[in-house]
């Protein structure tokens, strides 16, 4: 069981990184971005591309982040922007289209088969009695922790971070107060996408890369965001870990195939019992 929990923390870190971006976009831009999972996939595959161009791994990741952010901002500017006043459902539908687009572009260029960043086998070693993790997994947890601290500092200490929190509270007031909401939107996409790319790369390291990798994560991502309180980045962090641990722990009792169903059930329970989530997010229900 201890091992399962450890696995859950690893997996939960990946979910947390994706969920933070998802919840930020939901809180500030007010829509459920169904393309966020595929953004993670995009990041993972772009990193693969740059690695195949002989870039060292860290550089490849940085380049993947840069390109992904550019793509996200372009899509927002040429597509989502026009629907900002029309309503959240049209945005949702549009983002489903984008999700399919991204996933199939990946399929088009890389094919459907499982690929890996490297052929090396990383041996798992024992950290404490009962827990075995390989070096990738330890890195995943460490890097996630660092990223989370950075996000926290960003939101708490920087002017634009505070402006993002303010916009998440009340975009109209942010406009009235003189906050440059255009900049806030760009930063939202940038931070959210960067975290998503990190998450995607980690997922690729852990499980290998397949075109639907991110899409399959969408349900746990939403579950984590809703659990933590939609619009609350800290909630997404906590929610991600909880979902990750719950999913892994569940494999002790039920078939691993039903892991996504675990996330789903948690989400439904949250929606029924405490819809605003742990940290009290956007109260958008009847």
């Amino acid at each position: 069981m201890l091992q399962l929990i450890a696995n859950g923390i690893v997996f939960g870190s990946i979910i947390a990184l994706g969920a933070i971006g998802l919840t930020m976009v939901y809180g500030i831009l007010k829509f459920a971005n169904f393309a966020h999972g595929d953004t993670m996939s995009l990041g993972a595959y772009l990193a693969l591309l740059f690695i195949s161009l002989q870039m060292p791994f860290p550089i490849a990741v940085v380049l993947a982040i840069a390109v992904s952010i550019a793509v996200a901002i372009l899509i927002d500017h040429y597509l989502y922007r026009f629907f900002r006043t029309t309503g959240p459902i049209i945005l949702l539908i549009a983002s489903v289209g984008v999700a399919l687009f991204l996933r199939n572009v990946i399929l088009l260029f890389w094919g459907p088969d499982l690929t890996y960043y490297t052929r090396e086998i990383h041996l798992a070693f024992q950290i404490v009695p009962g827990i075995r993790l390989n070096s990738y997994e330890i890195w995943i947890v460490i890097v996630t922790a660092v990223l989370i601290v950075l996000v926290h500092l960003f939101l708490k200490k920087t002017r634009i971070g505070k402006a993002m929190r303010a916009s998440s509270d009340n975009m109209d007031l942010a406009e009235v107060v003189g906050i440059d909401t255009q900049r806030v939107i760009i930063w939202t996409w940038s931070v959210g996408t960067a975290l998503a790319v990190f998450g995607g790369v980690m997922l690729g390291l852990e499980n290998g890369l397949r075109p639907p990798m991110g899409w399959e994560l969408l349900l746990p991502l939403f579950a984590a965001a809703i659990l933590g309180g939609i619009g609350q980045p800290y909630g997404a962090m906590v929610g991600g870990l909880i979902i990750g641990i719950a999913q892994e722990a569940s494999t002790g009792f039920i078939s691993t195939a039903y892991k996504p169903a675990v996330a789903f059930i948690i989400m439904i329970l949250v929606l029924l019992i405490r819809p605003q989530g742990i940290f009290g997010g956007s109260k958008r229900w009847i």
């Binding site: 459902i89 549009a94 199939n104």
Partner: protein, 318 residues
């Protein structure tokens, strides 16, 4: 292709259009009128298809079966079961705001798919259910597919007329009012949840019917048939392109989009087999772009009314 080949293709094509037509009609009730965002279309389709399959097939070694039911009772049960599942789903989710409902329904569709994928005892898991009998097979001496097409047309027209009647009635008007402005409608004293539930259940029953009819035509179903996105996404594009809120639009959309989709299939068929998957990806990319263009340029679709968008705009301003 010779003339009889073309005719065969056309018949097959139109049968599938009819199946999608039913799906679009069902979605129109849910989304076109009541603004319920249902991503779980594939789930209800699956329930209908599998129920029909399991009930009408002879006994099989490794799964539930052997009921050997005739076609009509089976389809009735399939339809009712779809409606029942929709009812169960509606209980926790209908209170939720639209986008939460979307997220919830996607979870449900996934769970249903996982269920059929894994519970081999029920439905043979990945290997699917085959040998689904065709209704009235024995009685038909001429082109069976043509007969099935006529059967489908009967179903589609029947459902179309029934829905048109229902939607033009006071009940339908309440649904429309809920879709346009929920808070006002609630203030008028209408029990929103009840109407939404009825809309959800009715739409899902029609989707189950579509699944059942599909299963009997193709004679084989497996979880892969319901890989959620391509099918579900296509239905959404059909309704949006044809015009949400319009039943004629739903049917028109089914025809046009399935036509486009088949066209892309024909185009990419020239590509060597090795590239088949990539060609398939290209087709989805084309449809995805098509959807975005429609949303940008003519969101109300071909036959839809602009008021759908206006109502949403007004809601934003309030």
């Amino acid at each position: 292709m010779d003339l009889s080949g073309l005719f065969s293709y056309l018949v097959f094509f139109l049968v599938i259009v009819s199946v999608y037509g039913l799906l679009s009609l069902g979605l129109n009730i849910q989304w076109g009128y009541t603004k319920l965002f249902n991503i779980g279309i594939a789930g209800f389709f699956a329930v209908g298809a599998y129920t029909s399959a399991i009930l009408t097939t002879p006994p099989a070694m490794d799964r539930v079966g052997g009921f050997n039911m005739p076609f009509l009772p089976a389809i009735v049960i399939a339809v009712l079961l779809s409606g029942f599942i929709a009812f169960l789903i509606g209980i926790p989710t209908l209170k939720l705001k639209e986008d939460y409902l979307a997220i919830a329904t996607i979870g449900i569709a996934e769970t249903i798919r996982l269920f059929f994928n894994n519970e081999a005892w029920l439905a043979n898991g990945v290997r699917g259910v085959s040998g689904i009998p065709r209704p009235f097979q024995h009685y038909i001496s001429f082109n069976y597919n043509l007969f099935y097409l006529l059967l489908m047309v009967v179903f589609v027209i029947g459902v179309y007329l029934a829905i048109e009647k229902a939607l033009k009635s006071p009940w339908g008007r309440v649904l429309k009012a809920i879709g346009e402005d929920e808070t006002v409608t609630q203030a008028m004293g209408k029990n929103i949840i009840r109407y939404k539930m009825e809309s959800l259940v009715l739409g899902s029953m029609i989707m189950g019917m579509a699944g059942s009819l599909y299963a009997h035509f193709i004679q084989f179903i497996s979880p892969e048939v319901f890989v959620p996105m391509s099918g579900t996404f296509l239905v959404w594009v059909m309704l949006i392109a044809g015009g949400s809120g319009s039943n004629k639009g739903a049917l028109l959309g089914a025809l046009v989009i399935w036509g486009l989709w088949s066209l892309t299939d024909l185009i990419t068929n020239v590509v060597p087999v090795a590239y088949a998957v990539k060609a398939g990806a290209f087709r989805v990319i084309a449809i995805a772009i098509f959807l975005e263009v429609i949303l940008l340029v003519r969101p109300q679709g071909i036959l839809g009314e602009k008021s759908v968008m206006k109502a949403a705009k007004k809601q934003e301003q309030e």
